[in-house]
Amino acid sequence: MSVETVTKTAPRNVVECLDTSAYQVNPYPVEEPMREPLVLGNPSLHDVTVKIAGIIEGKPNLKYWIAVLICASIAGAGFGAIGETVITGIGVWGSNNTIGWAWDITNFVFWIGIGHAGTLISAILYLFRQKWRTAINRSAEAMTIFAVLCAGIFPVIHTGRPWLAYWLTPYPNQMQMWVNFRSPLVWDVFAVSTYLTVSALFWFMGLVPDLATVGNFVKGKIAKRLYTFFSLGWTGSMRNWHHYEIAYMILAGLSTPLVLSVHTIVSMDFATSVLPGWHTTIFPPYFVAGAIFSGFAMVMTLLVIAREILGLKEFITLKHLENMNKIILATGMMVGYAYSMEFFIAWYSGNEYERTVFINRAFGEYWWAYWSMVSCNVLSPQVYWFKKARRNIPLMFIISIFVNIGMWFERFTIISTSLHHDFLPSSWSYYTPTHVEIGIFVGTIGLFLTLFLLFSKYLPVIAISEIKGVMPGSQPSYHDDNHH
């Protein structure tokens, strides 16, 4: 290993990399010098600590507390509606004998789907060595956990007697009964609980080194103790990093098939039934693409606001937002393909019931839901073919809201339109939500935003150690084993 040949440290930014004299001195320039930098303004490592840990150290202003108060009140109202459901029974909802699954399951699938982008960013983009993910993975993972928590509320209260929800798990009991492993609903219990657990472990593991950094940075005695306690006493020892990096890789490798399995299994709740409109093999990939699509839209909604308010524009750059918009465009096209393929198969199968359900979906009583879905999910992202649109912040905020709405309507369309005209015309029905269902759904939005607001103030919103590791000049400019 001849270190003496490297007389100058690695170039610190793109401009220096393009300077040919830097090449002459250092024959090993940093990787991909022609790309847009991931961190703007060329801050030092210490600047990064100050910037991100500084958000935690700083006192939140009145606006922040007003925002928390509003969101928490909405969440509180939601819990009130849940209380009404639990005390009176699920008869307070608009669902009926024909439409047994309505807003509750729509909201469950909606929230689970939101979570998927977090895992995609933290795990799949990690395995693909997409370094731009480091700026957004922490907040996206937080979003995953909060979204899955919101999702979990719905099936539990849908049981009608949520205090008996533990019956969903297999445990030896005095009734001498076991759960039915042939039912996709049991698969769902395992999928969602595994997903929540693994996401939380992965998130916490990622936080440990940053909590040590924050614990070292904050001045308050109690804050210092708390952050240090949860950092488990992390010192940054290379002997620990050595295991840590392997663990990170394993958890990323596990989360990747896990995230695909979760929405696959959610889709099997529908696909394994014999109901026209649900019983299709396209559901697993269609649901997974839709989940990633909706999740990225939610990440976009939150990050556009967060980078503005928390002053993180040099970390969450236009390049990051543009990359996410490209993914939104790609996954939006995938769900668009799935919508048309469903229609094609309904016609091509020659199955009369299947055909009727789909014609009814687009032109029946729920036409407004179907066309809201198509226009929000398929038409609105098409503007992202243009670079100008992909880098236009107000526009991407609006589109992300559209996609969130569209994806909610997708789940509603799948669930309610397939159910409301079943095999027996005498039991055909129509569904309208009651104030209780609306209250619960809006309440989960409040809960989600409250948790995200608290997270963005009290935990490092950007993975400090990861962003330091991808900054120009942070890694040795030679590798003895020729791999990155």
């Binding site: 290993m1 270190v3 490297v6 690695a10 490592l45 210490h46 600590t49 297999p170 001498q176 009964m177 076991w178 492993f181 042939r182 996709p184 049991v186 698969w187 395992f190 999928a191 595994t194 657990t197 472990l201 992965f202 040590a212 950094t213 070292n216 306690f229 488990l232 006493g233 992390w234 010192t235 940054g236 290379m238 002997r239 620990n240 990093w241 050595h242 295991h243 840590y244 990096e245 392997i246 663990a247 394993i250 958890l251 098939p257 896990l258 399995s261 299994i265 150690s465 990861e466 330091k468 590791g469 000049g473 942070s474 890694q475 040795p476 400019s477 590798h479 003895d480 084993d481 990155h484």
Partner: protein, 178 residues
């Protein structure tokens, strides 16, 4: 109060290339009881320090196998031994319907084994370190690479180790007593 003893000699680095070089030289000189504290994982530094591949993947694998075996046993025993229930004429046990739960429990147990195995291998949680009061050491979680050679090493001797550290180009070479 017992008398204070030097537990380590510390030196700071800020250049990733220099710390790589220093790590290789410390390792080549035969030291084994040393560590480098870094704010982020430096690629290849573990190799330069002479560390072998982590055994963590074996722990994870064992966890995964444990999860898989338990899932198969759970589904088979509950469904076809303890509580035989005919549901739509479906078989009491089959691999096809077991796959989702087998997969999920494999993933869950692998993740738990990885998570707890990691902290076990790192010796964490441990809220005390002999070095913790040193201001330079604390910067290791911020922007500095801190090389530490411990007095427990058989080759350790105050003067030569300090001199060696200075030769490596470390800044602010200092002794830590505890």
């Amino acid at each position: 109060m017992s008398e204070k003893k030097t537990v380590a000699v510390l030196g700071n680095f800020t250049d990733p290339n220099k710390i790589m070089d220093a790590a290789a030289k410390v390792h080549q000189s035969g030291y084994t009881e040393f560590d480098i504290y870094t704010p982020y994982p430096v690629h290849g530094l573990d190799k330069a320090m002479g560390m072998k591949r982590s055994i963590l993947p074996y722990v994870s694998f064992a966890g995964g196998i444990f999860g898989l075996v338990n899932a198969v046993f759970l589904i088979w025993w509950t469904g076809s031994v303890d509580y035989k229930l005919n549901i739509g004429g479906k078989p009491l046990f089959a691999f096809q319907f077991s796959i989702p739960v087998m997969f999920e429990l494999t993933v869950l147990l692998t993740a738990l084994a990885t998570f707890f195995g990691l902290w076990f291998l790192c010796g964490l949680p441990k809220w005390y370190s002999d070095l913790q009061d040193d201001a330079g050491f604390q910067r290791a979680v911020d922007d500095t690479f801190v090389l530490s050679i411990f007095s427990s090493d058989s080759r350790f001797s105050l003067d030569t180790t300090e001199k060696f550290m200075n030769e490596l180009g470390a800044d602010n070479v200092r002794r830590i007593e505890a």
